[in-house]
Amino acid sequence: MRRRLMTLGLVALAVAAWQGAASLESVDDLTLASPVEVVEAFGDDGGLLLDNAWVTLVEVLLGLALSVAAGLVAAVSMHLMGALRDAAYPLLIASQAVPVVVLAPIFVLAFGYGIGPKLAIVALICFFPVTVNLLDGLRSVDRDLLRLMRSMGASRLQTLWKVELPASLPFLFSGMRIAATVSVIGAVFGEWAGADEGLGRLVLLGLNQLQTPRVYAGIVLLAAMAVGLFALVSLAERLAVPWKGEQTT
């Protein structure tokens, strides 16, 4: 209870700080919209914002699903094949250093216009944290457990399935939390690479039309999406890892 109150207090504080910063003399209100203006913006074109939010949410969810799948496959196969890890890991890392604008045309070339390139961009940005965390999780399993599995004549896949994967779920979920959070900005980039609708495009247009309140309203929606997805992953973890917090072997 007391904690709830403190929480609310802190949040209120943050909003107040925002309002304060926005009302500073030195800050042009076209540079930073105040919470009040944002609320007004929701009033003015809530419909437009929500329509576009829906478009972006779809991109985010599909892209995220794609990236988690890709991350799982990448991590597991690299874990099982040392040579593959040595060779592929640098490439995966490199893939994170390529600016989206350079890739966008290639993705368009590969997937045409439409949702394809956007999903590809979201997936590209999101799969990496999943891969890194899961791989690290798989590698940090108690060595004695692995030896026990060997002594029981477990096959490589049995060990993976019965011990390594369950043991690394906490790592996996940390990675998914990060992925869920950045997926939103991924969709924004995707839309900047060419889209007819979506929050990302709305924000970009808003910027170019100096509709600062609308820009920040869009960002608030994007943030809400990120927070929601993050919460969703945490919920999923509580369901998938009930033994967490209990004593470990």
Partner: protein
């Protein structure tokens, strides 16, 4: 004549148009024509695409991946200089839109006032060259003027008062924008400050494919001319094409921009729609050559053609 020649019942041919940027008032004529079905009428199923970045259109058209792209005259010159076989087949906006914009407190009403000021640019080489030309023309010592690359955020840089002026924003767009926002912008246009006039926005085609695409492009421009006529006749009505297709545009702003830009969509007296002045092209190319934007001066008529304009080259 932009009189639409009926094409019988043949199904419209797909025709990919890649814009220079996200849809805005500069494209009002295109959307007007699209909305009125003028492209179908000439047997074209026009698909309007947006680029992933401002440099994309010219590459895509050079790669023959789109039928027509909207780009900038300097970019066309550069592309040819880099050996891309592209050609400007018509002017969408026949004057420079790039401008120097400042806020009143900076006290910049003429190029001479740039003395000792900081100017934000997008870091594009030919725009920096504009600045140098302008300073030279106004007899301002370049040393005394700081150019600062502010990336994409020209207006924000201005509004954060971190620069005194920005070069690269369009007078018809950002200029109008700031005016509507009561920021009372001061605007210096390139051609008024010593930069040779050029066509800011041009329709670019792949020269190699003109043989078989020429007719389609001609028809496209014809329909676009008609759309632009509609815009002139009844702007309030014709601009709906743009606004309805892009709900997220600021209607007030776009209307105002169309109003200020309309004269420059239209050709000079007695010239067909999309007319590009050969002398201006040569002059600008020369300037570009002198300022090291391009290494080789294109032969006259190499980078542009008016042949495909309504009533021309038939």
């Amino acid at each position: 004549g932009e009189k639409e020649e009926p094409l019988g019942s043949a199904a419209p041919r797909p025709f990919e148009l890649l814009l220079d940027y996200f849809p805005n008032a500069d494209h009002a004529g295109i959307y007007a024509a699209q909305a009125k079905g003028r492209f179908e009428a000439v047997g074209l199923d026009v698909r309007i695409r947006q680029p992933s970045d401002p440099a994309a259109p010219i590459k895509q058209v050079a790669a023959g991946r789109v039928d027509l792209a909207i780009s900038y005259e300097p970019e066309v010159l550069r592309a040819r200089d880099e050996g891309l076989d592209v050609v400007a087949v018509g002017a969408l906006v026949r004057v420079p839109l790039t401008s120097i914009i400042s806020l009143p407190e900076a006290g910049i009403s003429s190029p001479a006032d740039l003395e000792g000021k900081t100017v934000g640019t997008a870091g594009i080489d030919y725009q920096s060259a504009y600045l140098q030309t302008i300073l030279a023309d106004a007899g301002v010592d370049p040393e005394g003027v700081t150019e600062r690359n502010v990336g994409f955020s020209l207006s924000p840089a201005l509004l954060t008062r971190k620069v005194d002026a920005v070069l690269g924003a369009f007078w018809n767009y950002e200029g109008t924008e700031l005016r509507l926002r009561k920021r009372d912008p001061r605007i210096i246009r390139m051609e008024e400050a010593g930069v040779p006039p050029y066509n800011e926005l041009v329709l670019v085609a792949n020269k190699g494919s003109l043989e078989q695409k020429g007719d389609e492009i001609r028809r496209f421009i014809g329909a676009l001319a008609a759309g632009t006529k509609d815009l002139e006749r009844d702007p309030a009505e014709a601009i709906r094409g743009l606004l309805d297709a892009n709900r997220d545009l600021d209607r007030k702003l776009q209307r105002a921009v169309v109003k200020t830009t309309l004269p420059f969509f239209l050709p000079p007296k007695g010239k067909p729609f999309g007319w590009q002045d050969p002398d201006e092209w040569e002059e600008f190319a020369t300037w570009a050559r002198e300022n090291g934007i391009i290494k080789r001066l294109p032969t006259p008529g190499e980078a542009y053609t008016n042949e495909l304009l309504p009533g021309e080259g038939l």
